[in-house]
Amino acid sequence: MTSAQDALYSEAAQTYGAAMERLARAYEADADLRRDLVQEIHAALWQSFDGFDGRCSLRTWIYRVAHNVGASHVLRQRRTRGQELVGLEELENLADTNSGQSAADRGHALDRLLGLIQRLKPLDRHVILSYLEGLDAASIGEITGLSAGNVATKIHRIKNMLARQFQQGGSES
């Protein structure tokens, strides 16, 4: 382990450790497999810092690595689970699953949110997770490689979908 690699990893783990766990939760529902996935993300991050050249920000690099590990995990699991994934457009058009439950019930809302995210295709999942983490459109574009217009369209769909599913008073633009 080189000292630079070690230092970058320590900074990443300290600053983004919680975000990595939230991200893993969106990629794996099973608690044991999720812990394993978190470890895989940490190991991939540590390994990746050997080749980190500073051409993008540390945050962008961390999210890229974490999302790529998460996407590989989802695609590997699909071979055995056969779960069908959908795009944001399809999810946006799904019937409201809120069933009149209070959005103030945070535990329930979080479960429902995870249920929605875990149905999404990898790229759309990357976008919604980055949005939920509070990243701006430019950062999301940098992490995903999508154009600014494409990111804007997807964020608009995400806001609409969340508004419908969590009764926030309709469409936002």
């Binding site: 450790g17 939230r22 790529n68 695609l75 809302a109 995903t144 999508l146 969590f166």
Partner: protein, 190 residues
């Protein structure tokens, strides 16, 4: 601090986490495990062919007649050709980590397409190179031992070999279909 413009973002960001910490030792173990997985995938591909080439090499050295030497020489050549093709076409690769999601998914799909091409074309790079050895062996021994019993033995051997070729080909076609499903999934997933 992260931006919160939507209450759902707050629900997401406020969720409890376990605070998983990993020691340097565990991280290195996990990283080494991943590298070993890639390395063994490649090693496995070569070992079987090299063992077979070594076995044919032994037969080549200990054979007393020209026909056997030509036959085993052809098999050795075929095995070495297969190893070279495996190295050129089929070596497992690890994908870069720090690229953006779109590039990563495209690279992953490219890797699956490459693997699919290798198994789909198994006839041309794996099975066909073995054919000359069997042909020379069959014709040579049929001329050398001109007896119906010897010919029947050769015909049985060739039928078994042909059967094995079909099994290998079918297994590879099944693998190609499985890879195609994953590629379709990935197309849909992007």
């Amino acid at each position: 601090m992260m931006e919160v413009e939507n209450p759902v973002q707050k629900i997401w960001q406020d969720q409890p986490v376990e605070g998983i910490k990993m020691s340097a030792e565990i991280i290195q173990k996990r990283a080494a495990k991943f590298e070993r997985r890639i390395m063994w995938r490649n090693v496995r591909e070569y070992v079987a062919s090299l063992i077979a080439a070594a076995l044919f090499g032994y037969f080549f050295v200990t054979a007393h007649d020209v026909l056997s030497r030509v036959t085993f020489g052809l098999f050795i050549g075929a095995m070495l050709w297969i190893v070279v093709q495996l190295h050129r076409k089929g070596s497992a690769t690890s994908l870069p980590r720090g690229v953006d999601s779109l590039t990563s998914l495209r690279l992953y799909r490219g890797e699956l397409e490459r693997q699919r091409a290798v198994v789909r074309n198994v006839w041309s790079w794996y099975l066909a190179p073995l054919v000359p050895g069997f042909v020379v062996y069959t014709i040579g021994y049929a001329i050398k031992f001109q007896r119906p019993a010897a010919w029947a033995g050769l015909a049985l051997m060739d039928a078994i070999v042909a059967g094995l070729f079909v099994v290998v080909w079918k297994m590879n076609m099944r693998a190609a279909r499985c890879l195609q499903r994953m590629i379709d999934d990935l197309n849909a997933a992007e």
